[in-house]
Symmetry: D3
Subunit: 318 residues, 6 copies
Amino acid sequence: MTSISSILHSGYHHPTSRQWQSGNVLRKVSLMYPIFITDDPNAADEIKSLPGQKRWGINKLQGFLKPLVEKGLSSVILFGVPLKVERDSTGTLADDPNGPVIQGVKLIRKEFPDLFVACDVCLCEYTDHGHCASIARIAEVAVAYAKAGAHCVAPSDMMDGRIKAIKERLIEAGISHRVCLMSYSAKFATTCFYGPFRDAAQSAPTFGDRKCYQLPPNASGLARRAIRRDLTEGADIIMVKPGMPYLDVVKDAKLQSPDVPIAVYQVSGEYAMIWRAAEAGVFELKTAVMESMEGFLRAGATLILSYYTPLLLEWLEN
Amino acid sequence: MTSISSILHSGYHHPTSRQWQSGNVLRKVSLMYPIFITDDPNAADEIKSLPGQKRWGINKLQGFLKPLVEKGLSSVILFGVPLKVERDSTGTLADDPNGPVIQGVKLIRKEFPDLFVACDVCLCEYTDHGHCASIARIAEVAVAYAKAGAHCVAPSDMMDGRIKAIKERLIEAGISHRVCLMSYSAKFATTCFYGPFRDAAQSAPTFGDRKCYQLPPNASGLARRAIRRDLTEGADIIMVKPGMPYLDVVKDAKLQSPDVPIAVYQVSGEYAMIWRAAEAGVFELKTAVMESMEGFLRAGATLILSYYTPLLLEWLEN
Amino acid sequence: MTSISSILHSGYHHPTSRQWQSGNVLRKVSLMYPIFITDDPNAADEIKSLPGQKRWGINKLQGFLKPLVEKGLSSVILFGVPLKVERDSTGTLADDPNGPVIQGVKLIRKEFPDLFVACDVCLCEYTDHGHCASIARIAEVAVAYAKAGAHCVAPSDMMDGRIKAIKERLIEAGISHRVCLMSYSAKFATTCFYGPFRDAAQSAPTFGDRKCYQLPPNASGLARRAIRRDLTEGADIIMVKPGMPYLDVVKDAKLQSPDVPIAVYQVSGEYAMIWRAAEAGVFELKTAVMESMEGFLRAGATLILSYYTPLLLEWLEN
Amino acid sequence: MTSISSILHSGYHHPTSRQWQSGNVLRKVSLMYPIFITDDPNAADEIKSLPGQKRWGINKLQGFLKPLVEKGLSSVILFGVPLKVERDSTGTLADDPNGPVIQGVKLIRKEFPDLFVACDVCLCEYTDHGHCASIARIAEVAVAYAKAGAHCVAPSDMMDGRIKAIKERLIEAGISHRVCLMSYSAKFATTCFYGPFRDAAQSAPTFGDRKCYQLPPNASGLARRAIRRDLTEGADIIMVKPGMPYLDVVKDAKLQSPDVPIAVYQVSGEYAMIWRAAEAGVFELKTAVMESMEGFLRAGATLILSYYTPLLLEWLEN
Amino acid sequence: MTSISSILHSGYHHPTSRQWQSGNVLRKVSLMYPIFITDDPNAADEIKSLPGQKRWGINKLQGFLKPLVEKGLSSVILFGVPLKVERDSTGTLADDPNGPVIQGVKLIRKEFPDLFVACDVCLCEYTDHGHCASIARIAEVAVAYAKAGAHCVAPSDMMDGRIKAIKERLIEAGISHRVCLMSYSAKFATTCFYGPFRDAAQSAPTFGDRKCYQLPPNASGLARRAIRRDLTEGADIIMVKPGMPYLDVVKDAKLQSPDVPIAVYQVSGEYAMIWRAAEAGVFELKTAVMESMEGFLRAGATLILSYYTPLLLEWLEN
Amino acid sequence: MTSISSILHSGYHHPTSRQWQSGNVLRKVSLMYPIFITDDPNAADEIKSLPGQKRWGINKLQGFLKPLVEKGLSSVILFGVPLKVERDSTGTLADDPNGPVIQGVKLIRKEFPDLFVACDVCLCEYTDHGHCASIARIAEVAVAYAKAGAHCVAPSDMMDGRIKAIKERLIEAGISHRVCLMSYSAKFATTCFYGPFRDAAQSAPTFGDRKCYQLPPNASGLARRAIRRDLTEGADIIMVKPGMPYLDVVKDAKLQSPDVPIAVYQVSGEYAMIWRAAEAGVFELKTAVMESMEGFLRAGATLILSYYTPLLLEWLEN
Ligand SMILES: [Zn+2]
Ligand SMILES: [Zn+2]
Ligand SMILES: [Zn+2]
Ligand SMILES: [Zn+2]
Ligand SMILES: [Zn+2]
Ligand SMILES: [Zn+2]
């Protein structure tokens, strides 16, 4: 088997990811849009705590994405939100060929061939215990998403060893050179910035980010070790999450890892905080969002996951 | 078998070994409280856009500070807010012995001898053109504040050469060894986070931070050069401002300048943003504020200027 | 006029600003006390070349430790000194359940539940050839100590691969998350500072540190590589040994490895050198020992192994 | 199978490849010998606390140095010890053309034309108050030594601005290009390692290093700032003092200042400590001294000031 | 007055102080001579595009090397050039005991026992497809060369994982401690500097460096990753190739890898470029070659592979 | 007077220089074309050793530049070549309003208003002794060029203190904010790469670069100190010269000075070496030149001075 540390191509196989290897100006290509896909095929449900965002069913996806792609949307990341399915101990439905994520990937690849598609990989929503099962199971699901056409898989849990496990399975499947592995390496256990996400995913309190092995907010040393570990284990992109409250960690990630793209996730709580403060008149929305983007780039981020992507595509137009 | 490199817990399982991991910790001495002093001696005016903060008159200062000092307040920074005085081209009233800042310094030094007193030095509020006049005039005012008893002077403008000008005047006055010079070295021209401050200072749109030579938000190179310059010109403390949206710059400042304390100013817009988002239910106030403090320390700050100081002194009590 | 760049005092004139300068401070939790446990249950034998230190039997251990724990002793490291046992090729008696180390660990865990207990792991004293046998055997002994209750195991040999071997065995035993692995990563083959230790361990000239793969005194490059290797293989704490004569290596270790605690061993020869020089009137004992401690902290050490621990606990009291 | 990362030997198995690994090596040119010159022309007085060292009169100097130069001595540093002269407020006799230092420099330049001669510059011994007077006076004396033929002047006080003052006077005198300025940049106020020196200099307790502005032992930040300042002010060589107890500072100095030679002073207390410990049987003298030298080189020193120089010249012979 | 910071000479005016400045110096041991060995035993064929270089047969080798060894040649690297053999898919003849490389190694080890012998390991010349087959096959050939007596094996392909594969085979063979593994870690796909080498190796256009996985010229990030990877996989020496056009990469390699020797290959195109430019009168040959050597050392190289070695041995004589 | 270290704007006043603050891809804006202007108004003289380059008279300048500007030429640097004038001790004619440089600047500013114009400042060609006179005189000439309209002045001598002298004069003249100061900080005394330039400048052997204080080829430490000094003294751009043979120094300059643009001068000897080697068939010209450009960018250069600029503008077109 090819050694994990030997594979360099997966980080720049796609024209879009290749562009992330260079530069530092906010371009449309710097943005990745997080999308919630649910198992109700006709859903277009407002998410109250994430104003302006919806959970989408498979039948609505094309209509929703088309105008965005026309405005220059170049990448998305899909989060599966199972509302109807039966949960079990291994999260069987996570990689169900008829589940929303795999259906979504296939549809997008067919309808929007130039769009870069990433899939969040997390089993918490699909298991009855609300945990991410095992790293073997995570790897299995990641490979299923990749085989369905995902350009990138992004395990959002923090279980030790999951990057290595996924990479090994991708190598075995012979697709390691074309699948980009984005690691949530520095994902912090913020107790306040993940609330709206849980609302979006309709998760019970026990579900979601809480259960996974997130880092304590002051643990910059552990974050650095996690980043180095994930690079060693085969990560192609390193993610820091949340964004603005952890800008110093983005900087740190860039210093630790100058040779791979750094992604930053402007999480639901940040999105809502800026939105609500603008509503309350603290500042103007566009100004504050644009300044947050400048901060991400200044700190060293190459790639920004943001719910503001549709607005940003418009603002970048002019 | 779990991979060796994946195991992080063994290093901090026991309470004793956990202490060997510990970094910088939030203490009461880490906080500096910004106070607005006005020329109406009996003022205690609410500042609408800074909920919970007031403009204080000299007669109300002791009563306001006493309970805070008892709770462990160890340092303050004074901002003069002239509402009645006539402005002129040199800002004559900035160092008027009967003006609010000099009166405030003297009162605090007499009533609270252990309290560390810093003075913001800025002439924009006192000049008819709303600019900071000249570096010579700034240095003059700084020395007047220092002679009145200030332990620290902090020029908040960004004019080239003002740190050197002040230091030279302090040397000439024979007090350079006892007066700490805190430089707003990396003060960014954010267009959205200074609004409530302007409200607090009752400044017209032309007044305030806008007119001084602030840095463009993406100018991390210029910020590094400004920090090095200010150290060369005699700064004892380096400040970064705003805070959370520029956490990466705090990190950068610490790396550039490991041998002096780094201060960070959680500015009015950040204060209001967190406050309003908590009001709107995005998160709980205390949790969000504490996480912002952890971020400052993690990024490398030694000293935090925050309007949340009174609340933090209470939270740190328990 | 004094030159601006010459003035350092202004940054630390006030007690509050002085605290903003403070770095790492010597605390009781920073000290780990090395204790020799022998297989004569009632021993309390003076060690001539280590003035003030003794070899202790299991029956004397509690009486000896009680007053130290009351003074704030928070961690110890145990060295087994077999005087009566028959040596064999695999060092069978090193992990004999009735041997002094395992008995000592159990007694301490029972009597002093808050005390952090580390065990030196070395087979040289137990083998008839005076070598450390194999890394497999070292790992076996380390696991036995950990199962007996040791919070930390510290292999003092330098054989290639022993950190990895121990970590793998700890993982297999399911206790890797609670056992701290301290590596003698940068242990130098000083020909003059280990003499009294050999006396304490009653070892023949062929025995002891000499046989293990220590580093040549000028090999800072190999030390750096050894530190990085041991981190990769699962070390939780990195140790440098000896201390004062290798302070630059402590500094180097901190730079190589900012994210784990650095331990330093003030070895027997250093202890005796300072003691004898003080006796001869070169300097006062307390002053010299305290300055050596300041050096360890300044160089970056978190944890100090020192025979002066009992005296230091007293000195720190006042 | 041995782990790949464990194997270090393959890189230096052959004598040729071993040379590719080589670092800094102790050579005779690395040593500078400190010599006490007194104003009794025929003195050859034993210094009790510095066993083996003497105070020399001008008439004995040539006879004393000749065998050392023949053994390869390449540089000395002269310390003036006035025993008979009247002290005054400006230390008039420090640069008396008939004083021991200036006489010593002239004699050495004439008799040993290839020997590099440095002069310690300190007025404490010559003033009635035991302080170093002013930086102007220090500069005056330094220039006098340089004009008398010294290749190097080394101000041992720590007064702010003395490097700049000396350099400016050397420039004015037109000899700045040929006079090397060695700064005691990182001279620590150790309370225990300077005792024998005071004995050698026959100084009263108020005299000597104590009065000058030495750094507190834990002040690595101030040491770094002092090094950078002295480089800016014109230092050609940076000295760290004491040596072994501050090896980490030597390392730090090398990192701060990779582009100038780093000198280290193995001070009187270190000399005596090793000597007395060897006498007491802790270790063998030669072994301990050689290991201390290896430490200085490993930490980054280029130049070592040591009272062991005569012994080292012999040991290096074989 | 000249500015203080402008004066650099004072630090190196005296011959002794000049030695304190000295860095890495070109010595004969710094040079490794690349030699082409062909399967025509009596060959001494001029290589037109590499003026002054020849392809040697085994019978001519001793006569050719003897005068060079007498002049101080201390290491060579052998390149096999099969002209007569039948190529097949696995490059069977690369490690034929009667092939030119293995015969050459044996002869040199016997006739010149102190000469360090390295072997380039590449199968492209021996395979019918002109590729390097597999890493398993590369490792097999490397071990065969090592067993024949090579002190060093140097795989010149860039296939992922070949350093690890070779090291593992050397460990299995029990010779890993005596065989130095030199990795062409940063070998760039220059399209213009490898031409004459292909001529020397009599390779068809499809053959040679082109087919191996070389790095694109601007890929400094990939080069850094490759260096770190190869160190992790067991490389003892890191090579950069070509030399002068990639001097910044040599610097980078030294910074990435301060603890192992850095080799640089002054490739055929550089050799020819300097030679032809000297012929055309742009500069004098010796001056330009010596300046290129100074550049390699200044950038951080320890070891230089150069066709100019015979000339350099002469020039270094005087 | 504004302090030298305070001025940041001069580095980014012109739209072209502002672009040098970002990015790292070879663009037309990355190139600066060196042009020789002579005092024969109608000259268009071939320079034999610089094939393809000419000395231009003022009357031919517009015709020569027009097609280049149309192809995207964005900056030039002018070298005055006085052939007829009388030389004197102060180089009077260097800033003669009717001399070729000042006439050239004015013409270009008038005819090509978007073209960025730099002037080399060197008096060697204008003085009868062939030296650069004094730094005061250099500063005088630099200011004259700036007043004539030059956007950038670039003193090519290496005299200590000339950057500070020029900057002070520019400040006095009130034009320091609009004139970019490019320092030949790391200009090496290569004995072989400056030959064709001397031919171009028609200088006698005693004239030219030789006389100025260039750095010895192995002096990377001095180069780093020179770069830091020049930044301190007000340089806006740091130049390294020559280019390819000093690529490691370009890298070093970038690391020393990450916050200002780094320029590299592909000098006459490099130009000729590549040209002649291409003629001799070593490689193809375009390939070799493009690879040299990639090297400059990879090493960290922002700006490249090259005689290949006209060819590169063409090659970049396609
Ligand atoms: Zn999960
Ligand atoms: Zn202002
Ligand atoms: Zn052992
Ligand atoms: Zn003194
Ligand atoms: Zn090959
Ligand atoms: Zn010149």
